[in-house]
Symmetry: C2
């Protein structure tokens, strides 16, 4: 029953693929377990989509490429439809969200991890299959949703083994540069993209190299010429002044950006977004050295429409020979408001953060560190007023700090929809902070577990009528203990 003895295949992994042994797997799984716990604590739910997607669902947003359906592993099914293995976890999320939008809790907060496949040329340390870990919020246009993603990324990296001071989240907003370019008379999308790509090389080429790429073009060491974005001298200097506006506190950077973006509507919007992110981050307790504004961060992917994030490793790292190794970016993301619209035709705001698990593992190893939190719906903090968001985030941070999953509602609906949302999430409790409560130093907590238990127990309903069962206004200092009693039921 064996194959013909004449034929003996050579045992080998396919080109660009690898096997992983226990030592590597232990670190990767520990990272995923710790990060998942943090992500669930932040109110993000797990999702696992299929490895295959129909090729049309993946669309043309391939990584760093305009070529439709290149760079993926594709095959034709029996019914002649083209399927392709996912190349990231964002395109499948957009498909899933579009497919189930009606029945999803909105905003939909999910995290996911698993292999992705890229049909690209392999190289040293560059594989055609690798594990990604993503968290995204779909359905919230609020900059606070971006701030949440940033805070989650900070906490996730910390749980993965990168405490404060060892990594930093850098933020920017595409609207700023877009606004600056509009103010400078650049309207063409291709030219804007060429500017983004030039700025993306700042790290590698320095200001002088980028200046050439923003203008006529640049000849590299090998003599190869890269055509530039074709900006005029004033445009070039405006872009360079903008990307150099980083450094210091988030407030400092905002002030410097305001001076250089030149007052377009889109630029002002970007500035206002960043300012709200800063407020939310302060509420969440994300320190100035954990998340900074950096106008030089652009991210290569053209689908980002607003905030962009990049996580950078600050540790000294050495390779296996003990030589210094520069790791740089260990994760990134941003706001992409057009991906779901591909399916539905309706713009659906979304924002997320992604990191490569093996890459993070390699970074931790290179830095001489290797890594060692609850699961159900999060407590939902009801959002009543734009002006009080920082208070809501403070409460969320407080609950999370105590190991309790919590989130501020980030959709744009009223009280009733928010309670329905909390119910769909199977939240144990909803937390309400109106103006009176904030002034009085109190908080109102609704026990949703008790509410569900009573709803199920129809015969006893009479007893409770008029008593507003399970809702109590308590002192702020008692919140954690009160919520914990509800959860431990």
């Amino acid at each position: 029953m064996t194959d013909s003895p004449a034929f003996r295949p050579e045992p080998r992994t396919p080109r660009g693929f690898q096997d992983r042994r226990a030592r590597d797997l232990r670190v990767e799984r520990e990272i995923l377990a710790q990060v998942s716990a943090v992500y669930e604590q932040y109110g993000f739910e797990a999702l696992d989509t299929s490895a295959f997607e129909y090729a049309d669902a993946l669309g043309k947003f391939l990584p760093d490429s305009d070529r439709p359906n290149e760079g993926v592993f594709a095959l034709q099914d029996d019914d002649e439809q083209w399927m392709a293995l996912r190349y990231d976890l964002t395109a499948p999320l957009a498909r899933f969200a579009a497919q189930h939008w009606e029945t999803l809790p909105k905003p939909f907060r999910r995290y996911a991890y698993g292999p992705v496949w890229r049909n690209e040329k392999p190289g040293p340390g560059r594989f055609r299959e690798f594990i990604q870990c993503d968290a995204d919020t779909v359905g919230s246009a609020r900059p606070e949703a971006d701030a949440e993603i940033v805070a989650l990324a900070v906490a996730g990296l910390e749980a993965a083994g990168l405490p404060r001071g060892t990594a930093v989240l850098k933020l920017n907003n595409r609207k700023l540069l877009n606004g600056l370019l509009s103010a400078a008379g650049v309207a063409d999308d291709h030219q804007k993209l060429a500017v983004l790509r030039a700025v993306d090389k700042l790290d590698r080429l320095g200001a002088d190299g980028v200046r050439l790429l923003l203008g006529e073009g640049r000849k590299d060491e090998s003599g190869a010429f890269t055509k530039g974005a074709g900006l005029n001298a004033r445009g070039i200097e405006a872009v360079l002044a903008f990307v150099a506006a980083g450094g210091g506190s988030r407030t400092d950077v905002l002030a410097r950006i305001a001076d250089v973006i030149g007052g377009s509507a889109e630029g002002d919007e970007g500035l206002a977004d960043l300012s709200r992110i800063d407020v939310a981050l302060k509420g969440l307790g994300v320190a100035e050295d954990q998340a900074v504004f950096d106008p030089s961060i652009v991210r290569g992917l053209e689908y980002y429409t607003g905030a962009v994030f990049e996580a950078e490793l600050l540790l000294d790292t050495v390779d296996e020979k003990g030589e210094r190794l520069r790791f740089g970016s260990i994760g990134g993301g941003g706001r992409y408001d057009d991906l779901v619209a591909r399916f539905t035709g309706e713009r659906t705001p979304a924002t997320g953060f992604s990191f490569g698990v093996s890459r993070l593992a390699a970074a931790l190893r290179a830095a001489g560190r290797e890594p060692g939190h609850q699961a159900r719906g999060p407590v939902v903090i009801i959002a009543f007023s734009e002006a009080d968001m920082a208070h809501y985030f403070e409460v969320a941070g407080e609950l999370r700090g105590a190991g309790i999953a919590a989130e501020v509602y980030l959709g744009s609906s009223g009280m009733k929809a928010q309670m329905k949302y909390a119910d769909r999430r199977m939240s144990p409790a909803a937390v309400m902070l109106g103006g009176d409560e904030i002034a009085a130093g109190t908080v109102t907590v609704k026990d949703l577990d008790l509410g569900r238990a009573l709803a199920a127990k129809v015969t006893d309903n009479q007893t409770w009528r008029g008593e507003r069962p399970g809702q109590a206004t308590i002192r702020r200092a008692e919140l954690v203990a009160f919520v914990r009693r509800i959860i431990e039921g």
Copy 2:
């Protein structure tokens, strides 16, 4: 930068694929976490092979099929080589073992979990992508390696939420039926396979249906005719007597089998194997109701060469409408001694157990139950004497019961190779039970951690010479505490 507004793909999962939400994922991950912990405790190390294999590496051992490379998702790489997504975790293990055989600790004990893909017709509850979880030992021809797999499967299912009395492992040995058929004059492999397939339908068709399939053939309700195996009347009755030999203790079944298999060399070998498995299981503390011998278990896959296992759910299960549902098999496996030989030309004995994670999750859900241990090399119990294997397994069981990973060495090499094995596994300790120790109620423990620390510390070597550092003979009752002190070191 969006696609043409004219084209809007329909958001949908590809045919036969599914998305999994948090509720399902939580159960599946809990199963995997608990089972992984048990598997590691049993001394199996994690391995993750690539999703793709070269098509030639997958060979023709497709599930229930003789058709080479059908049933898989295959595509041609840029260099024109055919690659296919793995359809199980066994074929990739065979490839990996063949590829790295020289440097692997032998026997190589690994567990793995992850998605597998089958290009088959989907149906209700039948998907083209699903998660499998496997544990295998490659490089041990000992029946005790099969017993270990059985004990591991029992413990794994218990950790996954199926305690004693809720599931049973059924064992058989292909050699018995092969021997019986040889004794009855059946030599042709195709005829043997037809017999296996007939017996495999016992559950569904009963003895009368199987009798027809063993003989000339059977017409089903629809009038369709299935050609039979063509045994004569005496052969048919011999097979039926064999498959009916189950029931009662393992010892009872062995006695009944001995009466009916008719004394061929292969049959006697199968009987001897089962007898040794029984002894090992007793040593491991696997009770008679946890693992039974059942001659009616054959398993469909033709690649099994000896022991075959099937895990059966004993709980009453109901579907979502509350109607009774028969789950039956929730996992299985067996011994396959020819898979690695496809690559190397050398027969490499292997045995393993596999279960579908989603299927087990569905079984637990249908039964109204849903699920709630250390990582490094296992303590290795050195195997000195064939006759004392039960004692070694008792020690392994005792250590595991105390939460300490432990295993009995199951290769066929001497003391030196076993110590090298323990060292390669990074075992904290090796446990030795010679005849004298067993008689005296003592045990000798070698502290391998200390050994490694000393080997690294060359300058201090002098001090230790002649003291046999880190080796001590202690009372059996002190073993767990002693090993724990080493591990907590």
